[in-house]
Symmetry: C2
């Protein structure tokens, strides 16, 4: 609960519409996108960087805990308060003042609260887009803070690759505003400070503005579902990468179990497989081109077909079967997987990442462990195979709640196998929040944790001092 | 000069071949790649990460200043000692123990002393390469520390985009070895610590190993020289980007003055222009594809020709003239520019970067200032126009040394115009070293400098503490 003095002070910074204290009106800011969430002590809604700065400075001086929140589409409780009711939410939803597209630079500058869909709507008339492909429609500040990847990472990479400038408000008594290299593609004139904040899940400061490199929107896309032979998926990936070159934009794996749930539970989704027979595993591949087609050129569909016919004809081909397009329908299946699983009750989701070569060995080992030790769950996984990303989802075979101790044992089992057994990550692309505090404590190496804490300390105060360029150590480094 | 006790201790770590103290033998480690350099107090040549760790720890404890040096191909005196003779060089040239290519992961793991050419030689039989295209042949540790870009940045980006893992020795009394996420494309399980070290010019630690994502080597390349109409270069860039899409790998600007010097001074370089008439400005563009050609497809040369014919035929076309390939010959001209300038005496080089739209306005303003205030110099620039990179080189019209005060005035004039006048960077891609200490002191914002120093402090000691994931501020951030 916010005291009357704090309330008056915050209202004087933000104005009445900038402050929400009514519990029903706050509920949406407390609830997480999928599961869980908590109760805000209040919701602060700044409209400008200056207001963010004043609000942060006030909270720091008064020791009021706060959680920055932009689109609140994350899955790790990184943008919602806990259940104590003690924590404020700083919502960036009204930070939508800047959305400036620069066609000559092929860049866009946005305030943190601008949604991905709004940016892409502004870019579309110019044949441009931000090629981060996500199921949700987050705000760009949160995307920078999480360093989101997505389904077309293989071709376009993560948010980091696109960020040419960042504005951030630091958690110190002045609410220091740091503006970090705005719009330059090449800049080595200082330490790469902006990269510390990208993917820092809000722990180092509140991102208030982003400058992004944007790309030519594809002029054509073709997609296919590939059925690999058992154990041949990496050979298939290599064959497709070699044959398609820069045209390949996605290589998305889907288990039969996940596809079955989607086809059973998501209305309007056509079963693309012959006789409706869902295979044990399928891969959605997509080829795109961003240059217009010229005369005498084969279409992208022709291209895709030629590639697949060639791969299928090889001796010991990794490809058992393939179905070409339509792209929309195939992507609809891919994008329905999460919804298909959730339709039958809560899903125990793991956002794992591995070296490519470890994804399927882990998957086999983990499925065996689950079958032996947690037979009440079914593995319904899918993943960004070319990027090593694996959404290892477990769906209870019977409805009803899962006991907390059982859930904790399951999480430990999967995480330890992923991290310790296969050199993987317990958080591939969803970032860090309260939901994975346990895994962070347990699996992140102690040195990485202690340097991370020290890094957070740097930006929580206003330091002084000068960096010497030249020989170090002790006597001259700083 | 190294005392006998230090000498014995370092020799016991490195063995006799690991320590060079003989001045003639040390000379190469003191001289910079192009101009300047100094004299080492000694050269330490570790072969393993463990030896680097021991040597760094020893130097820190004994307060012996050192400079890490890998390929020593840099241009900013970042890897050479000064003239005092007090500074040790830690050369990474013997750190060549690991060069492991993983075909399934499409990654390579290398020790810091492996040269770019050696990596590419190992990758070539597999149809792979690291697509960082530089004039020099640096070592990969230095490339990571500098975050090198190069001539194909437009398509492939900088070193940062390719680095999936980093091993670094920190400047503390233990020579702490930090190993940061080895080989994962997606990993958001901790703060992005490795990105702090990429492009940190050795100031935060000595990079000893790198894991890199590598790419399919192009199967075809076509190039052309384009002569833009005056003032139309950004229109030309937009037209080429739209028409060529993902095939465009380079858009390199060359002034007539720079091309003239190259053609006059570099033997064996053919003049590609009709009647040998060098235009005021030309752009080298390159299209590549990494997928093999299939039947009925036009070749990349056909593609390039069609694109250029189409652009030339437009009303108010930005394209005045164009010459297609051969690619080798056109790149030979591009790569000869630096040598062509240096053939006539020392060059005053500026490695600047801008937003794309500011490159030519700056260029015009700077040329006018030079003509008015420094008429003894001729502007002979070239640049990575699509990336905003501008190598603004000044060549003395008459031979002979340039007075230091005059040189300082010239540097101030160009830097202040670039940074303050046009929002640019005084160091686009060459990094930071003694050569640009003055510019760093003057043009980097005080806050960025002080946070950079604080960041360096974090890694110069072994911190303790834990980062809380969740609400901050004061009472809970760290």
């Amino acid at each position: 609960m916010l005291g009357s003095e704090d309330r008056a002070a915050l209202e004087s910074i933000l104005g009445a519409p900038g402050l929400i204290l009514d519990p029903p009106a706050m509920a949406g800011y407390g609830a997480a996108a999928r599961y869980g969430g908590g109760a805000p002590a209040g919701v602060l809604r700044p409209r400008t960087t200056e207001e963010v700065s004043k609000v942060v400075a006030y909270c720091i001086r008064r020791r009021l805990p706060y959680v920055p929140q932009s689109g609140n589409t994350g899955l790790v409780l990184g943008s919602t308060p806990d259940v104590t009711g003690d924590q404020l939410v700083i919502s960036l939803e009204r930070m939508t003042g800047v959305l400036a597209v620069d066609l000559e630079d092929r860049t866009a500058r946005v305030s943190a609260g601008v949604r991905l869909s709004a940016l892409n709507a502004a870019l579309e008339p110019h044949g441009l887009f931000l090629p981060i492909d996500l199921g949700a429609d987050p705000m760009l500040g949160g995307m920078a803070a999480t360093n989101t990847g997505g389904a077309r990472f293989l071709r376009y990479g993560d948010m980091r690759r696109h960020i040419l400038g960042l504005e951030v408000v630091l958690p110190d008594r002045e609410g220091t505003v740091l503006s970090l290299s705005d719009g330059l593609r090449k800049d080595s004139s200082s330490l790469p400070l902006r990269h510390v904040f990208i993917g820092s899940f809000g722990a180092l400061g509140v991102i208030t503005g982003v400058t992004l490199e944007v790309h030519r929107r594809p002029t054509a896309a073709s997609a296919a579902l590939l059925i690999p032979h058992e154990g041949a998926i990496l050979d298939l990936l290599a064959a497709v990468e070699t044959a398609a070159g820069e045209a390949l934009t996605a290589f998305e794996g889907m288990s039969g179990a996940a596809m079955s749930r989607a086809l059973a539970n998501v209305p309007g989704l056509g079963n693309p497989f012959p006789k409706g027979q869902i295979p044990a595993y399928a891969v959605l591949i997509e080829l795109t081109r961003s240059a217009p087609l010229r005369e005498r050129e084969p279409t992208l569909d022709d291209d895709l077909e030629a590639i697949l016919v060639d791969i299928a004809a090889r001796p010991a081909s990794p490809l058992a079967d393939a179905l070409i397009g339509p792209a929309d329908r195939l992507w609809a299946l891919r994008h329905a997987l999460s919804e298909g699983l959730r339709a039958e009750g809560p899903v125990i989701g793991f956002d794992l990442a591995f070296r490519r070569s470890a994804v399927f060995p882990f998957r086999a080992a983990a499925a065996a462990r689950v079958a032996a030790e947690f037979p009440e769950f079914e593995v319904c996984d899918f993943g960004h195979i070319a990027d090593g990303g694996l959404h290892f989802n477990l769906v209870p075979r019977e409805p009803g709640p899962v006991e907390p101790a059982r859930l904790a044992a399951l999480r430990d089992c999967v995480h330890s196998l992923a991290v310790e057994g296969f050199g993987g990550s317990f958080s591939g692309e969803h970032g860090l929040g309260r939901a994975n505090q346990d895994a962070y404590d347990r699996y992140v190496p102690p040195r990485v944790k202690s340097y991370s804490a020290a890094l957070a300390n740097v930006f929580a105060q206003a330091p002084v001092g000068a960096l010497r360029l030249g020989p170090r150590p002790g006597d001259s480094a700083c």
